[in-house]
Symmetry: C2
Subunit: 226 residues, 2 copies
DNA sequence: CAATCATTCAAGAGAATACTTGAATGGTCA
DNA sequence: TGACCATTCAAGTATTCTCTTGAATGATTG
């Protein structure tokens, strides 16, 4: 009986560890992070994460074996997506724990953002209030495809690469708040730098769509699964 | 610059993966689960998890390297504890994700509990309501030490091993609800079986102290860190 | 001061993992 | 039908993990 008990526990924790193992590789975490922005093909994921296609495919299959992602054939592509929005929350929780417990995370990101001349995002709470009150123009600077998959309700879409050309679409008399994929993404940093150079009052919001949603914010389209 | 960006991402996800790697071994998850019940010495952890002391020590150091646990010298023992209650929540989230996504978890646990003659815990919501309303005697059947570290507010402590001898301490006219370390722990199952054999109306509650707390329930002592 | 005890360290065997390369699969589109 | 394309498979290598064993550490206790 005591033996049966041990076998039971071993079997149980082994199952739990399947999820843990899936989260144990940096590359897979990067893939999950990307998938939090929306579904993607293998090739797209491989490019964004600087992986060989074969390697990306392998990691994706690992994630699929742990049931964290699902694959669906779409034309001649295979589209991967998170199996569940809980997976995105788990990623955010893990990231949060790392941020909270590992001083190295802040060192690394501080060094990088400083080198890119990013200002500290001051007054995050105040910023959030103004966004929620609709006092500012909220700008989504991610690729259009990600905007289409899900974006913060009321946000305007101008991918950072097109911003220079489309800057006139922004009302000149209102402050702009730009967001992208979250605190470690530089797209909004670049966007803000550009907008300021053009004389606009611009700020960066560090939240991703998923984080916004996790805090009870509205997103569009309403049914977006993540 | 694109190279700097890649280096930044690599460094970042590598840090995140430190946490993931710590969660990737079944044994370590078992240790974390135990530590969710309260601080423990290396030897105690090794015994409970059926590990050699050296192996347990090694895993604990891995966990410590990821800053998930902390060690403190206590007399001639070393006491390990969770570094943060967030760690416990992370464990519960991971377990929840596994339960939710991996059918194997339910299969394994159903088989084991069935073999032990455990009844399905029916009416969990109703049970919870009655516990919260104080309509039942709430019984903590874990070892006294764990009760001391933290327990649900108002619970009585009778470790399952002492239950037979101390059964008279329970009011005979009220239902008893027993809990232990959570849904996969059998102590409450055994306690309920014993109590029923003695003619008491007894039920099992599947929540652990940490889960109770996570749902906004009160615990004692108030300052308990987990 | 020596003995004891809990814990950690060190080294080694075996298993699992990550990435690469090149071929195979199984669609789609001309 | 045949060429092409995205993806997966298979095999090989280098690396990293896990667990064991036996010794070392370092504090407490008689």
């Amino acid at each position: 009986m005591t033996t049966a008990h041990r076998q039971f526990k071993d079997a149980l924790y082994e199952q739990f560890a399947r999820v843990g193992k899936a989260l144990a590789a940096p590359r897979r975490l990067e893939l999950l992070d990307l998938l939090c922005q929306g579904p993607r093909t293998v090739e797209a994921l491989a490019n964004e994460a600087s992986l060989s296609v074969a390697n990306a495919s392998q990691h994706l299959q690992t994630l699929r074996a742990a049931r964290l992602v699902e694959a669906e054939k779409k034309g001649s592509y295979v589209e991967y997506r998170l199996a569940d929005e809980e997976v995105c929350r788990m990623f955010l929780a893990l990231r949060g724990l790392a941020e909270h417990r590992l001083a190295e995370v802040e060192q690394v990101s501080r060094a990088y953002f400083a080198s890119r001349g990013a200002m500290e995002p001051v007054g995050a709470e105040e910023l959030l209030r103004r966004v929620k009150a609709g006092e500012v123009t909220l700008l989504d600077v991610r690729p259009a495809e990600e905007y289409r998959a899900a974006h913060i309700a009321g946000a305007l879409s101008i991918p950072v690469g097109e911003l220079k050309a489309r800057i006139r679409e922004l009302p000149a008399d209102r402050d702009v708040v730009a967001y992208c994929r979250g605190p470690y993404c530089v797209m909004a940093v670049e966007a803000v730098a550009l907008l300021r150079k053009r004389g606009l009052r611009a700020h960066r919001m560090e939240l991703s769509v998923a984080e916004w949603r996790a805090r009870g914010g509205r997103i569009e389209p309403k049914g977006a699964a993540r």
